[in-house]
C-alpha cells in the first residue's frame, strides 16, 4: 500500500496546485452564493422604482375613484381616459400597459373589458381583485349597506391541506438530501472523468514504465483513485458547506436534516460508488491511446454510470418500485439510485446493506480486473486496444501476481 499512498499524495499535490481546480473548488461556489444574494437584491432595487400605467375608461363615473383607492399601494397607476381610440393609441405606443373599460352593461354581467397589446399579455391579478372589491363596495353602498360590515361576511373560504400521516420528509429534509445526492453523484462522475484523463496522461507522458518498475499496477490504480477521491471529497465538502450556508437563508433549521445516519449512508454510497466509477474510467483510460481516440464504444460505456440521472424523475416518483429496487443492485447504478432513493423515502435497512454489499463486491472484482488491464494496456503505446484484445488480456495469466 506504500506505493499507492505515494501516488495518491503526488496526484493530490499536483492537482491541488492547479489554478483551475482551486477556482472550481472555492471560487465557483462562492460566486453562486454571491449571485443568489445579489440577484434578489438587484431585482428588488430595479423593480421598486417601476410603475405601470393603466388607462381606465369608466362609463359609470364612480368606480374609478374607489379602484384608485384600492390600488394606491401597488405598482399600478390608473389614468382616466374618455376617448377609447386615443387610449388604444397610447396602449399600442407602449405608454400604457393596459386599458380597462368599465361599463354598466358589462358590470351587469360581472365583467369588464381589459385591452392588452398582444394576445400573450395577461391582465394583472391585482387589478382584477381590486376591481371586484371596488364594484362590490359601490354596489353595497348604493344598496345602503356598510361594506366594512358586509364584506367580511361574504369573504371566500379556502381549503388548507393538512396531511395527517406522520410526515416522511419535510421540504427542508428533501432539499438537503436531494442536494447531497446530486452533489455526490455529480462529483463521482466528474472525478471519475478526471481519473481517466490522468491515466491517459500517464500513458502519453510515458512515465508509466518507470512507475511500474517501482510499484504494482494495482498500487498505481488505487493510488490514482485514492488521490483524486480525497480531492473530490474535499471539493464536495466545500460545496456542501457553501450550499448549506446559502440554503439556511431560505430554509432555516435545515441543518437538523443532516443526521449522522443520513451522512454516513450517503458517504458509504459515495465512497463505494466512486471506487467503482473511477476504476471503470481508469480501465477505459488504460486501453485508450489518447484523449482524442475515445471511440464510440468507450463514450457509451462512460455514460452508463450516469443513467440514473436520466431517469431521475421516475426514481423519485416510484422509489420503491420493483425495477428501481432491482436497478439499485446493478453495481454501476447502485450508488446514484440509492442516493436518490434514500433522499426521498425510507429504504429498509436490509436493502441498504444488500446494495452496499453488492457494490463492495463489484468494487473488489473491478479493481482486480482494472489492474490486469492496466498491466498490459498501460504499456501499449501508439494505439487503442480493441474490446477483443482487452478480453484476451483478462484471460491471460499476465498480471496474476500483482
Amino acid at each position: 500500500m506504500h506505493g499507492s499512498l505515494q501516488v495518491a499524495a503526488w496526484e493530490f499535490r499536483k492537482t491541488i496546485r492547479n489554478r483551475a481546480v482551486l477556482v472550481s473548488t472555492f471560487l465557483f461556489p462562492l460566486l453562486l452564493v454571491a449571485l443568489s444574494v445579489l440577484v434578489p437584491v438587484l431585482v428588488e432595487r430595479i423593480g421598486a422604482d417601476r410603475t405601470y400605467e393603466i388607462g381606465v375608461v369608466d362609463e359609470t363615473q364612480f368606480i374609478l375613484p374607489v379602484l384608485e383607492n384600492e390600488l394606491a399601494d401597488t405598482v399600478y397607476r390608473l389614468r382616466a381616459r374618455d376617448d377609447l381610440e386615443a387610449a388604444e393609441e397610447e396602449l399600442l405606443a407602449g405608454e400604457l400597459v393596459g386599458v380597462l373599460i368599465i361599463s354598466e352593461e358589462g358590470l351587469a354581467h360581472g365583467a369588464a373589458e381589459y385591452w392588452v397589446r398582444r394576445a400573450e399579455d395577461s391582465p394583472p391579478d391585482t387589478v382584477a381583485r381590486a376591481l371586484t372589491k371596488a364594484v362590490q363596495e359601490t354596489r353595497l353602498e348604493a344598496a345602503g349597506l356598510d361594506p366594512e360590515e358586509v364584506l367580511p361576511l361574504t369573504a371566500d373560504v379556502s381549503l388548507l391541506t393538512q396531511p395527517r400521516a406522520a410526515p416522511e420528509r419535510t421540504v427542508g429534509d428533501l432539499a438537503v438530501s436531494m442536494g447531497l445526492a446530486f452533489l455526490l453523484v455529480l462529483a463521482t462522475l466528474i472525478i471519475g472523468g478526471v481519473v481517466m484523463n490522468s491515466v491517459i496522461a500517464e500513458k502519453t507522458s510515458r512515465t508509466v514504465e518507470i512507475i511500474l518498475s517501482s510499484i504494482s499496477p494495482r498500487e498505481l490504480l488505487l493510488g490514482k483513485v485514492l488521490g483524486y477521491g480525497v480531492l473530490g471529497i474535499l471539493q464536495v465538502m466545500v460545496w456542501a458547506a457553501v450550499g448549506l450556508v446559502a440554503a439556511t437563508r431560505f430554509l432555516p433549521g435545515i441543518w437538523t436534516a443532516l443526521t449522522p445516519a443520513v451522512v454516513a449512508t450517503a458517504l458509504a454510497y459515495f465512497v463505494l460508488g466512486y471506487l467503482f466509477v473511477s476504476s471503470m474510467y481508469a480501465l477505459l483510460g488504460a486501453v485508450l491511446r489518447d484523449l482524442q481516440s475515445s471511440s464510440q464504444v468507450v463514450s457509451w460505456i462512460a455514460i452508463i454510470p450516469a443513467v440514473p440521472l436520466f431517469i431521475l424523475s421516475f426514481i423519485i416518483q416510484f422509489p420503491d418500485a420493483g425495477w428501481v429496487r432491482a436497478m439499485a443492485h446493478i453495481p454501476p447504478f447502485t450508488a446514484a439510485t440509492m442516493l436518490f432513493r434514500t433522499a426521498v423515502t425510507d429504504v429498509p435497512v436490509w436493502e441498504i446493506l444488500s446494495t452496499l454489499a453488492v457494490l463492495a463486491l463489484a468494487d473488489y472484482l473491478l479493481v482486480r480486473l482494472a489492474a490486469k488491464v492496466f498491466q498490459v494496456g498501460m504499456l501499449m503505446y501508439g494505439k487503442s486496444a480493441t474490446p477483443r484484445e482487452v478480453w484476451r488480456w483478462l484471460r491471460h495469466r499476465e498480471g496474476a501476481r500483482s
Binding site: 499536483k14 502519453t204 510515458r206 514504465e209 518507470i210 518498475s213 517501482s214 510499484i215 504499456l379 496474476a400
Partner: protein, 303 residues
C-alpha cells in the same frame, strides 16, 4: 558477484515468440551489453527482468539483499526505452517522487536529488518545470531517477538515443561511474562503438533467441576470422591476384577484406605481392558492428 540470473525465460504475445529460452546473468561492477536488432526481444526481456511482465516459462532470480530471492523493486533502477517525465512537474519534486516510490524517505530523497542535480550541473533547474528543460537535460534527469535510490542493479534501455556526441560521452562516463560504484549494469543500445568501449560481456539476442554470449574477446575469438586492411602506393591490379581474401573492396589507395578462419594470417601476409607498394597493413578481429551484422544476417540466411 552475480546479482541477476535469467533462466530460460520464454514469452509469447498472441502466439508470436518474443523471447525464447533466454538465459544470462549479470554481476556487480560489470556492464553487460544486451544487443539485438529491432524487435529481437530486448525490451521484452528487460520488462520481464524489471517485473513489469511475467514470463510464460522460466524464472529470473535476484540477489539484491545478499540472498537469492524474488525481485525487490526498490533495489533496481530502470531507464526504459519508452521514457518520459511529467512535463508540468518540477524537476526536484519529480525526483523526490520517484525516489519515494522506491522507498527512500522524503528528506533523504530530497538531499540526494539536490546532490545529484548539483553533480549533473542541473542545480539551477531544480525548481523549473520539466518542459522547460532541453532534451539532453531531461535525459539526465531520467538517468538520475534510475539511480537515486542506490540500486544494486540498473537496467538502461537505449540510454544514448537522441543524444549528441558530447552528451553521449557524458553518459558513457556516467555508466562507467555506476560500474565503478559496484553496481551491476545491464545496458541495451544500438551504438556498437559505444557498446564495444563500455561492455565487458555481451549478450546478442535475435528473434527472441541467444545468438552470442560471452566476454567481448570471447565473442571476437568465436568469429574465427580477421579483417585485413591495406594502404598501398603500387599497382591496384595486383590486388585481384591475392589468394584467400573474401569480400575484397577498394577505395582509392585503401583496400580491405575478410580473412577466413581457415587461413593463417602470417603466411598470408608473406604471400602479398611485391609490386603493391604496401604502406600500412592491419590484421584485426572484426569490430562488434561487423560481428553483429554478419551474425544477424547469417542467422536470417540460414532460416
Amino acid at each position: 558477484m552475480e546479482v541477476l540470473q535469467v533462466d530460460s525465460i520464454e514469452k509469447r504475445f498472441d502466439g508470436v515468440v518474443a523471447v525464447n529460452g533466454v538465459s544470462f546473468s549479470a554481476c556487480r561492477g560489470e556492464i553487460l551489453g544486451l544487443l539485438g536488432p529491432n524487435g529481437a526481444g530486448k525490451t521484452t526481456a528487460i520488462r520481464i527482468i524489471m517485473g513489469i511482465m511475467r514470463p510464460d516459462r522460466g524464472v529470473v532470480r535476484y540477489r539484491l539483499n545478499g540472498e537469492w530471492g524474488e525481485l525487490d523493486k526498490r533495489r533496481v533502477g530502470y531507464l526504459p526505452e519508452e521514457r518520459g517525465l511529467y512535463p508540468d512537474a518540477r524537476v526536484l519534486d519529480l525526483l523526490v517522487y520517484f525516489a519515494r516510490l522506491k522507498g527512500v524517505p522524503h528528506a533523504e530523497a530530497r538531499r540526494r536529488a539536490l546532490a545529484e542535480l548539483e553533480d549533473f550541473d542541473l542545480a539551477p533547474w531544480a525548481h523549473r518545470r520539466v518542459e522547460q528543460l532541453s532534451k539532453g537535460m531531461q535525459q539526465k534527469v531520467q538517468f538520475i531517477t534510475a539511480l537515486l535510490h542506490r540500486p544494486d542493479l540498473v537496467v538502461l534501455d537505449e540510454p544514448f538515443g537522441g543524444l549528441d556526441p558530447v552528451n553521449q560521452e557524458v553518459f558513457q562516463g556516467l555508466i562507467r561511474r555506476l560500474r565503478d560504484e559496484n553496481v551491476a549494469v545491464l545496458l541495451s543500445a544500438h551504438q556498437m562503438n559505444l557498446m564495444e568501449e563500455l561492455c565487458e560481456r555481451i549478450f546478442l539476442i535475435h528473434r527472441g533467441e541467444r545468438v552470442l554470449y560471452g566476454t567481448l574477446s570471447e565473442i571476437k575469438d568465436s568469429t574465427d576470422e580477421h579483417i585485413v586492411r591495406f594502404r598501398f602506393s603500387g599497382d591496384a591490379e595486383l590486388l585481384a591476384g591475392i589468394a584467400g581474401l573474401d569480400d575484397l573492396r577498394t577505395d582509392g589507395d585503401q583496400a580491405w577484406g575478410r580473412l577466413p578462419a581457415t587461413v593463417d594470417p602470417a603466411p598470408f601476409l608473406r604471400s602479398l605481392p611485391q609490386g603493391l607498394g604496401l604502406q600500412e597493413v592491419s590484421v584485426r578481429r572484426p569490430p562488434l558492428h561487423d560481428i553483429f551484422v554478419s551474425t544477424v544476417k547469417g542467422g536470417d540466411d540460414a532460416r
